[in-house]
């Protein structure tokens, strides 16, 4: 009996925590469809578009365009970067779109590449 009550309390705790911390996982197209600013804090997945990657040593950040099919959004991120991050890599960023700066400000950057090395010869 006591156990059931405690279980219910934990369940409520989990439920309310979920409501306030859920972060959707979208593609650039889905993000635009949802409304860039309205989406709030989201995760966006895509590819780093070639010839758009640039490092800024003054600000300590990196800028690039995240693309998926025909849609893309500009992204800026300051923080540690995974080994596998490079042009053409599949990445997931988490952050918010800033209409003032007209770009997605990411506070988290993750890549999906299996290993640092690609088997094709450059």
């Amino acid at each position: 009996m006591l156990g059931a009550l405690v279980g219910l309390a934990i369940g409520l705790l989990v439920w309310s925590a979920m409501q306030s911390s859920a972060v959707y996982y979208l593609t650039p197209a889905e993000l635009r469809a949802k409304g860039l600013e309205q989406a709030g804090r989201v995760r966006v997945a895509g590819r780093v578009l070639e010839d758009t990657l640039s490092w800024d040593s003054v600000q300590g950040s990196v800028s690039f365009t995240l693309a998926e099919g025909q849609d893309s959004i500009p992204v800026r991120y300051a923080g540690p970067v995974p080994d596998t991050f490079r042009e053409g890599a599949s990445v997931v960023v988490e952050g918010k779109y800033s209409s003032a700066a007209e770009r997605f400000d990411a506070h988290l950057l993750m890549t999906k590449c299996p290993s640092r090395y690609e088997t094709r010869l450059e």
Partner: protein, 653 residues
């Protein structure tokens, strides 16, 4: 050399399989010859896995860049220590490290089991060598550390500079040692369901393994946290990332396991709880590695999708169903647990603690796997960020801490609430006084009171229990109190080592609470000579120094720290640009005092204007987290310290 390693790995796999089969047949047919074959097979597997490990190690130190795992993680100019740590930087190498540690642990466990509980030897070898064979299958065929490139490079790509750190070098071996050690209670638990034991419980023999596993994994996680704090430049140490959670979950199960084992009396068969947690702890290790190697959930730590990830999912499911059904059968055979434990007693408290630990594990697991659940069931992948975990975990941990504080004062039988209240009077009184003092000092946050209060309750209750026992011993033996206090450790290592561990845990909670509650930060940019005020200090940007070497450029800002008019120290945060590594790496400058850490990051600097951009953080009391970790390690080692042979003569296990 690489071919030798590859060959050794394949033969080790055959040896493990053969050993498992021989042990199973020996159990069935009672054939001593097959039993001997099985035992030799365990040793052979350990030896062959060692050969493979040494082969990869040699290749790393000698710079055999034909191997992928050497090429991608080392270079000619890398320090030899980090060439060794590059072994576990690669996914293939880290899996081999785990396999090797496990092979060695299982060989040692087999040897000890032969001495103490030979009737469990055959089923133990059968289960443990099956597990080892599965690991070696993954290493040999799905995640080959000896994979070669099509050409021979002259130099490697080098190690990620963020990994050139002692804590990071030690973190994976500690974690994998913990995982490897959890295989022993798992194999013992599964083996015990396959045989009728004549010689009492295996719990006593298995307990040191559970404690060692818990200690290694705990220290491993703390090393990872310390690395994140020092190297990653965001001032935090735990992000509730899926991979981090994957390492926390087996540790939670391990905590429940070792306490459940502690409750066993000497000749009793281990309870259902022990079996459950032994199974859970090991399976959660498999789940953790599945998360790292499959890309099922996005993580900064994951290696991305790999076939070996899916392999571990099947491995995990097989172990869960196999071990789970054996456990369920045993449950049905032996009937329900003996009576209800009254709440206000040690057994009752342990029951409650186990339930709470399961609850924490469940909420963490739910949050970690929710992306997969939402993707499958709701068609919209949703993540639960750190906010979710920081909302659900602290209340449950708090309840556990309060329980931990009450436990030393409980007895095996039912206690009356009034007597318990009287025993707790001193700890509660001290805690209330301390919280009142905090209130006067201006603390406003509820979690500050809860965190510090719980920590102090644990420390005072442990001290009270220990002093109480010391006084009883002093009266019996006429020693001075201090001598009694110390001699108690030798008398009952797990109990007093446990008290030290709990105090260490309380100190860690002080560090966590302090850094959460006494936290402030500031972003600012300065020209040379300018100052800024922060948290009672004055930071003056004095100079910027650029150093160039063939492999990297280091930009160091010189910032002088002053407290009023007194010059307190000089901080040198850096930004390092490596030739072989595109991304600039920050070296944070930290000034540590017992009260707080001042954490200074050089975000960027403009050569043209001479302005530098900084971020400074104040983290209160965080040094106590690392002090607490050391205390925890000390307590754990005391728990593991072997009891002299003469005292265990005549006792099983």
């Amino acid at each position: 050399m690489a071919t030798l390693g590859s060959l050794a790995l394949t033969i080790a796999l055959a040896s493990a399989l053969g050993s498992a089969v021989a042990a199973a047949l020996a159990l069935r047919w009672r054939a001593p010859f097959l039993g001997a074959v099985a035992r030799r097979g365990v040793l052979a597997t350990a030896a062959l896995t060692s050969v493979a490990t040494l082969s990869l190690l040699w290749s790393l130190l000698a710079g055999d860049y034909r191997l992928e795992s050497v090429y991608n993680y080392t270079s000619l100019d890398l320090d030899p220590l980090y060439k060794i740590s590059a072994f576990w930087a690669s996914p293939q190498g880290s899996l081999l490290l785990w396999s090797w540690l496990q092979a060695m642990v299982l060989a040692l466990a087999t040897w000890r089991l032969k001495l103490r509980q030979p009737d469990m030897l055959r089923p133990f070898i059968a289960v443990s060598m099956l597990v080892q064979a599965l690991f070696l299958t993954a290493s040999a065929f799905l995640s080959d550390p000896f994979g070669t490139l099509a050409w021979i490079p002259g130099d490697g790509r080098g190690l990620n500079p963020l990994l050139e750190n002692l804590s990071m070098a030690a973190h994976p071996p500690a974690v994998f040692l913990g995982y490897a050690l959890f295989a022993v209670p798992f194999a013992l638990a599964t083996a015990s369901t396959l045989t009728d034991q004549k010689q009492g419980g295996w719990g006593v023999a298995g307990r040191p393994w559970a404690v060692a596993a818990w200690l290694a994994l705990g220290i491993g996680n703390l090393l990872g946290a310390q690395w994140a704090y020092v190297e990653l430049g965001w001032g935090g140490y735990w992000a509730w990332d899926p991979v981090e959670n994957g390492s926390l979950l087996p540790w939670l199960a391990g905590t429940a396991l070792l306490h459940s084992m502690g409750m066993q009396r000497l000749r009793e068969r281990p309870s259902h709880w022990v079996h459950l947690f032994a199974m859970l702890a090991f399976c959660l290790c498999l789940l953790g590695t599945y998360l790292v190697r499959s890309g099922a959930v996005s993580s900064v730590h994951s290696y991305g999708h790999s076939p070996v990830g899916d392999f571990f999912l099947w491995f995990l499911l097989a172990m869960l169903t196999g071990s789970g059904s054996l456990l369920a059968l045993r449950w049905r055979r032996s009937g329900p647990a003996s009576g209800q434990s009254p709440l206000l007693s040690k057994p009752g408290a342990f029951l409650l603690a186990n339930s709470l630990l399961l609850a924490v594990a469940f909420v963490v697991l739910w949050g970690t796997l929710y992306p997969v659940i939402s993707r499958t069931l709701l068609r919209q992948e949703t993540y639960l960020g750190a906010d979710y975990f920081n909302a659900v975990a602290p209340p449950l941990f708090l309840a556990l801490l309060v329980l931990l504080a009450a436990c030393p004062l409980l007895t095996r039988d039912q206690d009356s609430p009034r007597r318990l209240a009287r025993k707790l009077a001193l700890p509660l009184g001290l805690t209330t006084l301390a919280l009142a003092a905090l209130g006067f000092s201006g603390l406003r946050e509820m979690w500050g009171y809860l965190g510090f209060g719980a920590a102090l309750l644990v420390v005072s209750s442990s001290c009270q229990a220990w002093v109480g026992d010391a006084q009883a011993r002093r009266l019996a033996r006429g020693e001075p109190l201090l001598v009694s206090f110390v001699r108690l450790i030798a008398q009952n290592r797990p109990r007093y080592g446990g008290h030290i561990v709990h105090v260490g845990l309380a100190l860690i909670v002080v560090g966590i609470t302090g850094s959460a509650v006494y936290h402030s930060e500031l972003d600012f940019s300065l020209a040379v000579g300018q100052s800024v005020s922060f948290a009672g200090y004055t930071l003056t940007y004095e100079d910027i120094v650029v150093e160039s070497t063939p492999s990297r450029d280091t930009v160091a800002a010189v910032v002088v720290l002053a407290d009023g008019n007194l010059r307190v120290g000089t901080l040198r945060p850096q930004k390092i640009l490596h030739v072989s590594y595109e991304q600039p790496v920050s070296e944070v400058a930290i000034r540590t005092t017992p009260l707080h850490d001042l954490y200074l990051i050089l975000q960027g600097w403009d050569a043209a204007s001479g302005k530098a951009v900084f971020r400074v953080l104040l983290n209160g009391l965080i040094v106590w987290m690392w002090i607490g970790s050391a205390v925890l390690l000390l307590g754990g080692l005391i728990c593991l310290w072997p009891v002299p042979r003469s005292r265990t003569a005549g006792l099983p296990g």
